[in-house]
Symmetry: D3
Subunit: 235 residues, 6 copies
């Protein structure tokens, strides 16, 4: 039934290659099927103004897409400014990653996670969160190795997966052909078995509480699989 032939509760093949750039303190290239996102983490000694002298750390994220990451070339945002959609996504990534951070243990420093979509086939914001956590963790491990951080501020991985209602069925991990047809779809961010963000959205459609529940179940399954891959990648 699914264009890709996958089962309704089957994720795409996911790989996470780490340390892919020479400059960043942490980095990975995450591939969720044909969606490829390069995630880098940059350590910055300066925190945003509202945290000066607070002793608390900060994690923020920025998101971008190469113009021809998509089937039809998109305008380059550098020429016309970030769209509302881009800003919404990078706020989500930052909020999600912070949910898994002990900001006291991190200490007064900032880590900036850049998520740049090299190739897009649906689910780029979820791949960014999942891969972004890996880049973040690798940067933190570097700080721990040099003794700049004593106790690990990142306990459980933060991972995200999309689910939606496609052709009347609740399915896990929508690719672009499904996403562009689905009237209802959403993103679920979890850490340590608990929810961090739930963003269900319908365009010209609605959904019941029972469907909502079914999607939550699928998301739990997907996030469990992603978490195992994240832990393997940073080991």
């Amino acid at each position: 039934m699914r264009p890709s032939g996958r089962q309704i509760n089957e994720m795409r093949n996911v790989t996470i290659e780490t340390n892919v750039t020479m400059h960043a303190e942490g980095s990975c290239l995450i591939k969720c099927g044909n969606t490829h996102v390069l995630c880098t983490a940059t350590i910055d000694d300066r925190v945003p103004p509202f945290l000066k002298n607070s002793g608390l750390g900060w994690v923020t994220a920025e998101y971008g897409m190469l113009p021809r990451a998509t089937n039809t070339r998109m305008r380059r945002e550098a020429k016309e400014g970030q769209s509302g959609r881009t800003q919404e996504i990078q706020r989500l990534i930052g909020r999600s990653l912070r949910a898994g951070v002990d900001r006291v243990a991190l200490g007064e420093r900032q880590i900036i996670v850049d998520c740049d979509v090299i190739q897009a086939d649906g689910g780029t914001r979820c791949a960014s969160i999942t891969g972004g956590w890996v880049a973040l963790k690798l940067a933190v491990l570097k700080l721990m190795k040099t003794g700049q951080i004593i106790s690990d501020p990142l306990v459980d991985p933060v991972a995200a997966i999309s689910c939606g209602i496609y052709a009347g069925q609740e399915v896990l991990d929508l690719d672009y052909p499904e996403d562009s047809e689905a009237g209802v779809d959403g993103n679920f961010v979890m850490t340590g078995g608990r929810l961090v963000e739930v963003q269900m959205s319908a365009e010209g459609a609605t959904f019941s509480r029972a469907q909502m529940d079914g999607l939550l179940g699928l998301a739990e399954k997907g996030v469990a699989e992603l978490t195992a891959l994240q832990l393997a990648a940073v080991r």
Copy 2:
């Protein structure tokens, strides 16, 4: 327990005054406690380019806040451009209202719903959706009265309410003092007893599926009450 002394499943007092401006085709002033939003609906014969000659209608929304609607004066967005938060909110309002529109019945025209917050005390995006639907309905009724629309494109009201976890308890309709303290809060948009949008978000916190379920239950109660007020307002 709540700063306002409300029960955990008790909404603020809501009033909807209709036809409050002389120029707009539909308008209302919705007051959800101390949150006051002026909603106007403008009928435009031109649709966005992607709908030209499609026979389909469109509903879109814009959102703004007067600089001193808040306790501390905010910068005027006209001077520095819309923030990412503003864009995210107005996309949500537009998407939510469209979920309750039969775009064939509306015909090839656009209705623009402006939601301007006169005074803010938490829950401005939900008040905008609830009041925005009333303004939209009043504009549509005007089109039906003149025969420009034959069958009503708006069947069930679209309404929205916030819920969150405050002081460890699931509560309905957060005001600003609660919202600024709650680690977990979200917005629920519903129509005809079904869900349209669910946006749960945690800042430095997480939540369980059981809590999610509890919040959904509160939201259903709140939306039912709002729907009754909406129907009374447009009668």
Copy 3:
């Protein structure tokens, strides 16, 4: 002769409702006929850089119009930036209000007056000045009550009225139907019986010194009436 049936030297009905928002230090809703402007005054301890450590205060103004305040919906300035017209108006409001302020008595603080047009029917800049002064005065009274200001920096009210040549006749207080037809119109700002600003402008027309004199006479009459209303409002 006038579309509204008013006498040539007759102002529209003016009301000033004070303390209309919960957050601002001073506020009023001024209605000049169908022109409704919400004015709020915000006290800010910081002055502009050029006044640091000068001991002098500052009063500035910002002006905005809700998109559907007008008969035809206007673009939202937050999306495309303030127009030249908007900037010109808010500079006028700020300059006018400052003419009535003893900046030594005010002390080194700034008061920002926001004038937001809820509904427009001509004369919005004059209503903003007249209502803006009321909001400013209420904020100053609050500072005096708490002893932060000792001697009142606002002696005489500042008020403004438009006059113009409509259908060959000099008339007081143009509403929109008159304003859009008048070849010559202007705004007169006064305080304590003296002039602060005179802005006469002709589009495709000219006027004589005698006509100029007639308009000045009408303006004096109008401002006297507005001043009485301002004093009543802040009492």
Copy 4:
């Protein structure tokens, strides 16, 4: 009494050199004392959208100042956008010039008048209007010579002069040292012995009707002298 030693009703020396650039259809360099403005007029066959197929012409103006036209170097507007002051000035120039144009006789074309201040010493907007009219006239004469225009759309010159209250006295044509001290100053635009624009403005001061009258008298004297120079220049 005046820094320059001029009489209170004495203008600075004014010269108007015409045809100073090889490309523009009309041009002049006007020098009002040390204020030097290069004015060029460009004929454009296209009118603004709101005049298409109306048969009516249009005149508009743009204003700029070289960064080091002033005593202290100013930011280059090309880098940060036109200030509100610049926009206000160019709207004034355009409106003033249009007051002297028979737009039917001009025919459906646009003339753009660029006024660029090479050196500033007060009164740049008035010099721009006075010199702008000369450039405009020269461009129109070119259109008449080639038969593209039959009857002259510019009958009387449009000229402008500043007046103000300096050291308690009403004076004509303020230079920069006077302008920066004067609490009250204004610009008067006239054509054919009648007024087009009056912009009196006070910063931290007020003025009486009698003073207003005195300034109008000075302005009439100054404009008469400028008009003679304009007519000589275009002959």
Copy 5:
């Protein structure tokens, strides 16, 4: 003598991997040592307005750098707009590629070449030109295969290399450590054994005609090697 231990006339190791993205009509990942650039070519049926109905084709380029492509993270251009440096580089890439295009043979269509720097270590604009030509060629070959183009509009490859004076010696292909020290450096673009662009630039230094000649000789050597790699890549 060189930080990398290379001979003064020795290029870094260069590899060109083709068809690296699923969406673009042509693509490659070029690696010049540690400088990695992803180049994609997009075919667009629409040409820029000035070429409509001319029968001529167009090739243009855009250039970007991921924020952490460099040792120190750079601001994301999407947030603040393209810098002058970025615009200068992408104009150079476009001009260089067009030098090798028969625009009549290309036909009235546009090919947009995006060059995005994934990792930077000096020489990104040269790598972009060299890799950009490969992506362009692959897109053109696709058009020839489907018969949309009959005769090949790309005869000789266009390639570019940097040269400079480092520690007093003329060296080929500067990497970042050399580039940041060199007082004189430049970029040479060639096609078919002839020059297309020469951009020699000195910061706080100068150079003689003899040195200029030496650098031209090095560039010829480097371009010859790059050309062989380009031809191999597109075969």
Copy 6:
């Protein structure tokens, strides 16, 4: 053969008038045939942030063109921002002038050179560099006269000239009719007999090393003539 009748190695007539504005510390009006550029130098005690407390000086440049400096009126950059071309030119001017500056001798101060094109007929960037050096020198001489600078930081003049291949021939100092036809043209900046910048560029053409050499020879001749004029101007 040349539209102007000049020999292939013949420059246009060049004049340099100094001290043309009353405010700038150094200024000149350079005329290269019909290309007229006003150059002013402003001394600023503040250096850019990266030079604070370094003891080193800085020279930077800004470039602009009046809207009707050209045959067809151009958009005013103040309205839409500096084009990439403008930024590229002003970076070139600044870099070129700095090549002739001893930044230690200059001391920790900045000189800003503004080059504004009053009338354009080709070669504006070269005229800006040549005239900009004169304005810079005059400002420096003022600093030396007052003893703020002891040893002259400007030894040899910096001058620039364009050369190109027009109608198959290498020619010196292209004017606009030649520049718009030439497939290959470039700018050469020199000081003290040595090269500072070489920018050869071809649009739809290429050139040989022999031609490059011929152009360098022409440039040397032209720069020698310009240098003599510069020295005469500042004496």
